[in-house]
């Protein structure tokens, strides 16, 4: 069984020439409880829609699977790093 683990921390640093710049270090883990509630609610709705579509004979009835795979896609963002250093700006994005 695949464990879906959304990002834990998102770290964004932006600095432009002549400015102080800013840094957002956001512990995404704090949003997990909210995410669980939203996904749980959406999953129930999607399951009901899928069941209705299946009973009505529709060929496509995979909305709940689509939702889970979308969450999986979000989880796979972990490990993304981008570092851009141009003469005008410096941007760092790290997702753990």
């Amino acid at each position: 069984m695949t464990v879906i683990l959304p990002p834990l921390v998102v770290d964004v640093r932006v600095k432009e020439a002549g400015t102080r710049g800013f840094r957002i270090w956001f512990p995404f883990v704090l949003l997990w409880p909210l995410l669980i509630v939203i996904v749980g609610f959406a999953l129930i709705v999607a399951l009901l829609v899928d069941a209705a579509l299946c009973l009505s004979g529709a060929r496509y009835h995979h909305y709940s699977l689509l939702l889970l795979k979308s969450l999986h896609l979000l989880a796979e963002v972990r490990g993304t790093h981008a570092h851009i250093n141009s003469p005008d700006s410096l941007v760092d994005v790290d997702i753990y």
């Binding site: 921390v9 060929r59 689509l66 993304t80 570092h83 851009i84």
Partner: protein, 147 residues
């Protein structure tokens, strides 16, 4: 002590996060600093990244490196590509038709309906042999490879 560790411990002390959440965050920081193990983040320092495609094995990341006037280092997990391609097979047909039409208008005639799950692993493995080198007119050198 790193700035991130101090922040996590500060949040724990202020009661903003629980001990379990603090432990999870500290574990994530520790695993990011260690050598890459399956399922854990690789080193974040671009100097530790591979300089070219891996000779064997399944590639884990796609790297984009720009050297010259601009310095760009981007590392994207190939698991993200894998998950994205798998997601395309679940997109409702009506939406997929619109996506294909829009991509066709943009000059990318890729029909995702023809993409089978078994093809995805083959694509990922084949990416190991891919390497793109571009010498731009502005002096920048762009390299794209998977390792």
């Amino acid at each position: 002590m790193s700035e991130e560790r101090t922040r996590i411990l500060g949040m724990l002390a202020e009661g903003k996060i629980t001990a379990t959440e603090a432990e999870t965050l500290l574990d994530a920081l520790a695993s990011a600093a260690e050598a890459p193990v399956a399922g854990t983040p690789a080193p974040t320092s671009a100097s530790d990244w591979p300089t070219g495609p891996s000779a064997s094995g399944t590639p884990k990341f796609m790297y984009v490196k720009v050297t010259g006037k601009d310095q760009v280092d981007v590392k994207v997990p190939l698991a993200l590509l894998r998950a994205g391609l798998k997601l395309t097979s679940l997109i409702p047909p009506q939406a997929m038709d619109q996506i294909n039409e829009s991509m066709g208008e943009a000059g990318m005639s890729i029909d995702f309906n023809n993409l089978k799950p078994e093809d995805i692993e083959e694509i990922i493995t084949s990416l190991r042999e891919m390497e793109v080198n571009v010498q731009a007119s502005d002096g920048n050198n762009v390299r794209v490879f998977c390792a």
